[in-house]
Structure formats: structure tokens, C-alpha cells
């Protein structure tokens, strides 16, 4: 299987995507921004379509849309973004806008739908380079603001009153998240990224109870899921995203069962 370049690239890409998901996912989950992360996929889709429509590259459109909405959420407030009804409104609106821009652009519409349903199989060397660069940037950024981000994400109230530049930290994080979603969505599809940013970290927090432990275990869950997914996809010819989503969901089910057993007997 590894004699094929596209499989090798898939395995390498999975490794870096898992690093990204370890570092970002733990904070996405602890900040309860999973819903917003999902909306970001749709906002990103609309942005990519907009990019095609005005004739620049889709990733530029995507970055503009996702970063602007992160700024909006970061300043107007998280409360609105967590309300379920506003999530549905945003999702609907942006998918609609995406479809509109696509039909207006009238070109390469498969490219934009790839952004939703892309796959980890079939990526090239340049995609790999982009992923590695992004991973390095995200890790450095997170390490630079690590203590502040940890306080802000795991004790928002305490951090709000007792640490300075609290809103700035939230906005920096949302921009990092927007960039992660936009760049990785080009390569593997935003629905897969959404799954990998939320499910492994949600499972990890039932097993370990400190931040570095959660980052590491999230990385492991994500890596095992993507690598096993690639392997099963290779031998069955079924879509890799299906296997990844199924394996990650299985991790989550095991995690909540483990939690039930541990705390209810």
C-alpha cells in the first residue's frame, strides 16, 4: 500500500492534521466552540464560492469570510454564537450564500463542493507543504499564548476578571481556528476537519484530566482514526472519510461508556 505516493502522502498528512487537531481541538471543546466550528465549515464554503465568484482563489475568500466572522463572534460575544437557533440561522444563510455565489461564478463548482466533502486521499506534495507550514505556525502561536489561552479556555470567568487582554486572547484563538479550518478544508474537506477538531478532544477529556494529557491523547485518537481509516479504505475501497468518522465516533462512545461505568457504580 505504501508503494503508492498518494497513500504515503495521506499518512503523512494525517500525522500533521492530527497534531493540529490535538492543539486546537482541546481548546475548541473546552471553550464550547464546537458549534461555531461547524458553522465555520459552512461560512468557509460560502467564502470559497465567493472567492471563485470574484475571481481570486477560493482559499482567500475562505480566509476572509472565516476570519471576519471570528472577529465578529469574538467582539460581539460568544453567547450569541452558542445559541442553537442562531447557529441554524447562520448555517442556513451561509450555505445559501455559497450556492448563490457558485451559480453566479458558474465555474469549477466541483472545486467548492470539494471544500465540504474533500478527501485525505489524493493530495499532492504542495498540499503537504502547506499543512506542515500551518502546523508549525499554529504550534508556535499556541505555545506563545499557552498559559493565557489555558486560563481563558478552562476558566473563562476567572480569566475575564483576573487576567488582562482577555478578549484579545479569544480573538487570537478564533483567528487561529478560522485559519486552520480554511487551510485544511482545501486539502481534506471541511466536514472531516470539523469531525477531527471536535470528536477526539471530546473523547479524550473523559480519560485524562490535565491539558497536556488531553492534547496528547487527542492527537493519538486523531492519528489512530485517520491511519486506520486510510488502511480500511485501501482494502475495501470505501470512502476514507466514512471510516475516520466511524472510528472517531467509536472512540467517543467508548469514552462515555467508560465514564458511566467509572462514576455510576
Amino acid at each position: 500500500m505504501l508503494e503508492y505516493a498518494f497513500m504515503r502522502y495521506g499518512f503523512i498528512a494525517s500525522f500533521f492534521i492530527s497534531i493540529l487537531c490535538g492543539f486546537m481541538g482541546v481548546f475548541v471543546v473546552s471553550r464550547r466552540t464546537s458549534f461555531f466550528t461547524h458553522t465555520l465549515s459552512e461560512i468557509g464554503f460560502a467564502g470559497a464560492a465567493f472567492g471563485l465568484f470574484i475571481g481570486t482563489s477560493p482559499v482567500i475568500g475562505m480566509l476572509i469570510f472565516t476570519i471576519l466572522s471570528s472577529l465578529m463572534i469574538g467582539t460581539v460575544g460568544n453567547k450569541v454564537s452558542r445559541r442553537e437557533s442562531s447557529i441554524s440561522v447562520f448555517s442556513g444563510l451561509f450555505i445559501g450564500l455559497g450556492i448563490l455565489f457558485l451559480s453566479l461564478a458558474n465555474t469549477q463548482s466541483s472545486y467548492a463542493t470539494n471544500i465540504l466533502f474533500g478527501s485525505i486521499v489524493g493530495i499532492g506534495v504542495n498540499d503537504l507543504k502547506t499543512l506542515i507550514t500551518l502546523s508549525v505556525i499554529i504550534i508556535i502561536a499556541i505555545l506563545l499564548i499557552y498559559r493565557r489561552l489555558k486560563y481563558n479556555s478552562f476558566d473563562g470567568t476567572g480569566s475575564h476578571f483576573n487576567a488582562g487582554y482577555d478578549t484579545a486572547i479569544s480573538i487570537i484563538f478564533l483567528i487561529l481556528l478560522a485559519s486552520t479550518v480554511s487551510v485544511t478544508a482545501q486539502i481534506v474537506g471541511s466536514l472531516l476537519i470539523f469531525a477531527l477538531l471536535t470528536i477526539p478532544a471530546s473523547a479524550a477529556k473523559f480519560f485524562v484530566h490535565n491539558v497536556w494529557g488531553m492534547i496528547f491523547l487527542t492527537f493519538i485518537f486523531s492519528l489512530v482514526g485517520t491511519w486506520a481509516g486510510l488502511y480500511f479504505s485501501y482494502i475495501t475501497d470505501w470512502p476514507v472519510s466514512f471510516f475516520i468518522a466511524a472510528i472517531e465516533s467509536a472512540f467517543y462512545l467508548v469514552a462515555i461508556s467508560y465514564d458511566r461505568l467509572k462514576n455510576h457504580d
Binding site: 505555545l143 498559559r147 478552562f154 470567568t157 476567572g158 476578571f161 483576573n162 477529556k205 484530566h209
Partner: protein, 222 residues
């Protein structure tokens, strides 16, 4: 030897356009427990939030004599539900913000251990905070504030949800800290017994006005 850590002069406390407290003046001293009392809704929490806004830049009305990072506020409400994942000792470490290192130094770890002992949390330091009881949670919030070694500690109804024994226990920890470190503590409470027993000053807020007076201690009789 009592040092001032905060002076408030002619402050009006308002929320939106409603004035809650008018022309309020008082000082907070190191080494003393200053209680803040008043009916629900008189504006105690709003007052504290207004004070904290001036932590970085003192104004004519609110003047801090300690650095912003020497002030710790333990809020009345906190988002910690049953699922909260972090261990108690990791929760306590969150407020350590005077370093950029992504790991804790040896001296920070020692400091955490010391504070966990003071607040009697050592035994359960590795339990997730979400699983802790109400009293343990309040002690963890207190520990998180104490680990920074604050010069001014503001407790907002920290004892409100606790039974009598745990209240007195928590206050004893606080009074110990005051004696040992000379920190100033503002303690918002409804509990007359705690005020009588532990308070040095009482800032009473009623009818949109606040008056501060010394508490006649009856500590000897306890």
C-alpha cells in the same frame, strides 16, 4: 501597621442608567477582613466589578495601591458543571500568569502544593473539579486565587452555598492567610455570624448609600 491597598472616594455605582450606590467612600486595608453587606440586589457585585475595571488605571474615585496582578477576585458564579474535566490541582494552577512558559516551574509546583494543603485539597488534588462537592469547589476557587499570593483578595459570596461548618472552615483559612501574609480581603456576605466572628470592618450598603465601620470583635468569646 496597616497599609492601605485601595481607596474609594465619592464613587457612584450604576448599571445602565440606574444608580445603585451614591457617593461611596471607603478604604481597604492590608491585614484586615473587610466585609461588604447589604440586601440582594443592592449592587455589591456591581460595585466590585466597577472597582476591578479600574485595576489597571486608577481614577479619581478608585485608587489601587497594589499592582493589577496582585488583585484576585473570586466571582460569585462560575461555569463549572459536572463534566468539567481538569483536575483540582490543574484548575488551581490556571491563574499563574506571571510567566509565558507552557509548563509549570518547580517553585510554582511547590506553591500549588502549599496552597492545596492550606485549603485541605491535597487528598483530592487529582480528582476532576466537576466531581467535587460544593464546599470543595469553593475551596478550589479560593486556592486558585491564593496561589498567586494576592495583596488584595475579593470574595463574592464564596460561602453562600455552604453549610455552617464549611463556612467557618473556609473563613478560618482566609483569616489565617491574612495573618500570615498581611493581605487585604474584601468579603461579600450575608452571614451576620461570620461578620461578627471574623470581620474587622463592615461596609454596609443600604438605601443607595454605603457606610463603613469597625466590627466590635467578639473573637475572644468564640
Amino acid at each position: 501597621m496597616k497599609s492601605k491597598v485601595l481607596t474609594v472616594e465619592h464613587l457612584n455605582v450604576a448599571v445602565e442608567d440606574r444608580t445603585l450606590i451614591k457617593d461611596l467612600s471607603f478604604s481597604v486595608y492590608g491585614g484586615a477582613l473587610t466585609c461588604v453587606t447589604g440586601e440582594n440586589g443592592v449592587g455589591k457585585t456591581t460595585l466590585v466589578k466597577a472597582l476591578l475595571k479600574c485595576k489597571r488605571h486608577s481614577t479619581k474615585q478608585v485608587h489601587f495601591l497594589v499592582r493589577p496582578d496582585e488583585v484576585q477576585y473570586v466571582p460569585q458564579f462560575r461555569n463549572v458543571d459536572d463534566d468539567y474535566p481538569l483536575k483540582i490541582k490543574d484548575f488551581v494552577s490556571l491563574s499563574l500568569q506571571n510567566s509565558f512558559l507552557p509548563w509549570l516551574t518547580k517553585s510554582e509546583k511547590n506553591r500549588i502544593q502549599k496552597v492545596l494543603e492550606m485549603t485541605k485539597l491535597t487528598e483530592i488534588e487529582n480528582e476532576p473539579l466537576g466531581r467535587a462537592s460544593g464546599g470543595q469547589k469553593q475551596r478550589a476557587y479560593l486556592a486558585q486565587a491564593l496561589v498567586t499570593d494576592p495583596k488584595l483578595l475579593i470574595l463574592d459570596e464564596t460561602t453562600a452555598s455552604l453549610d455552617k461548618e464549611s463556612r467557618i472552615y473556609l473563613l478560618q483559612v482566609v483569616v489565617d492567610i491574612i495573618k500570615r501574609t498581611g493581605a487585604a480581603v474584601m468579603f461579600i456576605t450575608h452571614d451576620p455570624e461570620l461578620i461578627r466572628r471574623f470581620g474587622d470592618y463592615n461596609l454596609e450598603i443600604a438605601n443607595h448609600h454605603g457606610v463603613m465601620h469597625e466590627v466590635k470583635g467578639d473573637q475572644a468569646s468564640c
